[in-house]
Symmetry: D2
Subunit: 297 residues, 4 copies
């Protein structure tokens, strides 16, 4: 069967449901919808191995914040997005302990640059707390690491992070990465949070490369932003939007796949990465957005 490629739990569930064969109920998965700051939020819980198998993702909670209306740039769109991401993240993370934020991906390749770009907006405090513990007592310790890519480091991201975890001894790791979505409309218009760790380069099945509790020894949380869509998935998507009743998926099976992104990706990645970075500050520090602006300028 033609597989629509996605890194979003939300879409994995959609695809399961859309599939013609699925007349039965999806067991081991629970989904709930809410709204936060005007942005829709979908929570998908994968509860057991039935859910894991059906959706192809590890057990845990996945929150998808739908920022489609962000791009209408209505009143306070940026601040609301930061608070939406930050509030969900705060609820997901343990309330205390040092944090190591890891930016995965290639800063020189725009659709892969969400991780390093978001880190530019994260407040780094570990060294300040270490040097002046009294003056910075109100801050939570945060360190950051940009993994780079294998071709320019020679070292798997997971190896490098493991070495750093040994030295820094954080209470948790928070990993930021670019994702693949099944829909162009979700590119740079969605943020997914999860408590399940991350496999860089998404699901290539290389277990040594996973960033999770098992490989790093501390809980690993993930923030992802979809920036690319598989070409065959896009084709199916466009046809469906155009009113085609049913795509003959056989047709798409043999197509040599490649990943596409939008023409406006430079601006979109820049803006969403800032939302992610500020959202992390919102979750970890007791600061207003104005104060973040001042500290990061």
């Amino acid at each position: 069967m033609f597989i629509k490629r996605t890194d979003l739990a939300l879409e994995a569930r959609e695809l399961w449901q859309e599939s013609a064969e699925r007349t039965t109920r999806l067991m081991g998965v629970k989904a709930t919808k809410t709204k936060l700051e005007g942005y829709p939020v979908t929570r998908v819980d994968i509860l057991d191995h039935r859910g894991e198998e059906a959706l192809g993702k590890p057990q845990g909670s996945y929150f998808t914040i739908d920022l489609t209306t962000f791009w209408q740039r209505k009143a306070d769109f940026f601040e609301r997005a930061v608070r939406a991401v930050g509030t969900e993240l705060k609820a997901l993370l343990p309330p205390e302990g040092a944090v190591l934020v890891v930016g995965l991906g290639n800063a020189a390749m725009t659709p892969d640059a969400v991780g390093p770009l978001a880190l530019d907006s994260v407040l780094i405090t570990r060294h300040l707390l270490s040097a002046m513990p009294k003056q910075f007592a109100g801050f939570r310790p945060v360190a950051a690491f940009r993994t780079g890519v294998l071709g320019t480091t020679g070292v798997e991201s997971a190896e490098a992070v493991r070495g750093l975890v040994e030295e820094v001894r954080p209470a948790l790791v928070l990993a930021i990465d670019a994702l693949a979505s099944r829909r162009c409309g979700r590119v740079c218009a969605t943020v997914q949070l999860s408590d399940t760790g991350i496999i860089p380069g998404s699901g290539v099945g290389n277990h040594r490369s996973a960033l999770n509790q098992e490989t790093l020894g501390v809980p690993v949380f993930a923030i992802g932003v979809p920036t690319v869509v598989d070409s065959a998935t896009l084709a199916a998507d466009v046809l469906e939007e155009s009113g085609a009743e049913k795509i003959d998926e056989e047709r798409l099976r043999d197509h040599e796949p490649f990943m596409v992104t939008t023409r406006d990706i430079d601006q979109q990645v820049r803006d969403l990465s800032k939302v992610v970075g500020y959202g992390i500050n919102w979750a970890l520090q007791d600061l207003e957005i104005e104060e973040m602006n001042a500290l990061l300028s």
Copy 2:
């Protein structure tokens, strides 16, 4: 009818021929195929108003150099691409006179940055010839202009170029721009040369914005590299590749169009822009590629 969007004369001709209604012969258009340095070259001549109407482009000659195999990086792929582009361009341009090379597009938006990026590889000589005419007697005078984009200049590219042409008085203008193709396989794998001028932002029908003999008072040649594909066109393309006999184009008509590009666009635009810049040097100056390397480092 669903219109497959393209800026390539080659593809406009393909589309005309593929169209179910076209059982008649395409009048006013001539096409010939050759090879140069291992790369296929297609020449499309639009001979009269029948050709103009059929293909939606002004009368003149269009050369499309197919650099698909460039990305296999076989022996001398870069040098051969430069010579292929340079040789065709040299045959197209008047053999003498000062040249103003215009880089259109937005340097901060990767799929739109071909123009400004290519200029970084063009040898600029006008000021040297002006200051030391004897020492640089072997060079052809070349000046360059980066138009930027309307949102950051407030001035239409054509206006700004016209002002500069008045001052610099070149024998010809050579404009570099990013194009839209109907096929992902041609993105950053094709170079189109033409002697017909250019309409920035492609065919929006704004005659004031055209760069051509009529608006600038000197002949205008164009070099374009496709970097984006319309989403509906991509969908049709993927389905065709997948063996679908015939796409129901009605389906695609109502789809809200957007432009997509490849995930690897940063590297691809960088590499092809260098081919274009060096190809221009090859056409205008009497230099080996090694010498260009030394002069541009």
Copy 3:
């Protein structure tokens, strides 16, 4: 005699006064001091040819805003700097008419990048007023031009600006450039405004390259930020600060001069360029700083 190199009228006057020979009064020059938003402002008026000769600068008014305390980053330091620069500039410029803002210098060479960097913070409105005159009726028309440098354009900045002035027909030109100061303490800590035009590359005596009423046909105002200091001038400066009573200037005469800048120039140029850009918006548009932030993000 050893010449301390400077582009600031304020410093040219200082140097005249410090000179041992000057026991007479400086004729044809008037200087006054005020404060604006907490920042000291010195106005030097060169009134006639005696002043021109003494200070080596054309007749006109020069305002130097001393932003030394900017770097202490006290309350509202950025907003106050923008208002100080903006208020002086507003008083200097004609109250109406379209403006062409010209950013001189090399964006790829940090100490020379003030012009192009400042333009990134200037609101460009000419095209909006042209397309939707009613909706944007409250704005003053502003266009922008980045001249680049001779080595990458082949065209003198003055030539290119003259061509654009012919097309755009602004009421005035406002040119932004990097300057040389005699004191390291003024590097990225001073803004000079003047109504006298500008000679790019400062005072090389090439009259064809001047941007002024004579060469462009419209009034030319200038904003400059010192980013470099001549090495011999720095040496004299350091010795004086260190308490040396009198430098033997003969010693410095034969020294091969070169320009130096500070180690922190990247951050300093970025910050001061934003002050300049916002200051221009403050002078030309009826907007609060918050509104500029929203429009430029």
Copy 4:
């Protein structure tokens, strides 16, 4: 006494000798001069604790390659510089074993960017050897790490490197850093190699932050390029060049010091960083410069 600030062993020795008090012989230090590829090389060996005390640097060998004539851009200047640096480095390093190359410094601050910029020209092979050991059997394993700066990571460079050394287990670490020189003429015109490790931020006396055998458990070699000069040192330098017989150093003592660099630092750092990166390839891999060009493009 006024201290002329330097990170170069060569200059520390010069300063010792120039000092008026030094009528005795410098014990515990040996210096020899040679030429390599047309560039002068000075070797300073600090042999024992007397040498350490006199020069303020740890025991070991320091090679200074004088690339002043590089900037005359005579025949093969780049290739000769690469071979000079590469040949000295090859003689200094153990002939076998995996190498971790560490780029220290701030990529966003030009005079501090030598480390990260040089890494862009280093061939990274560890992952290739790991995935395809037979195909890449001719290469020596090389991994790379960009430490970033404390303010953007929260982690001391030495901590992060130690964690990575634990994972990667290299036979040696090779650290690249920007240095301070006492002379402007040596800025981006000198490369220092040593087998003594490195203290980032140079000699602030923070032993925890050193990168050396003691802190990392493997031998640490260093490559440094001076990019800044202390302002008081520059002043003394300029006065001396100008023929002053003797500087009254008392004068310079109270001067508030700051670091300066040259106006052309962007281009100079880019060019010298490439020399360093290619020099490392020359020392570690069996490759011609042409082959490096092909592999790094």
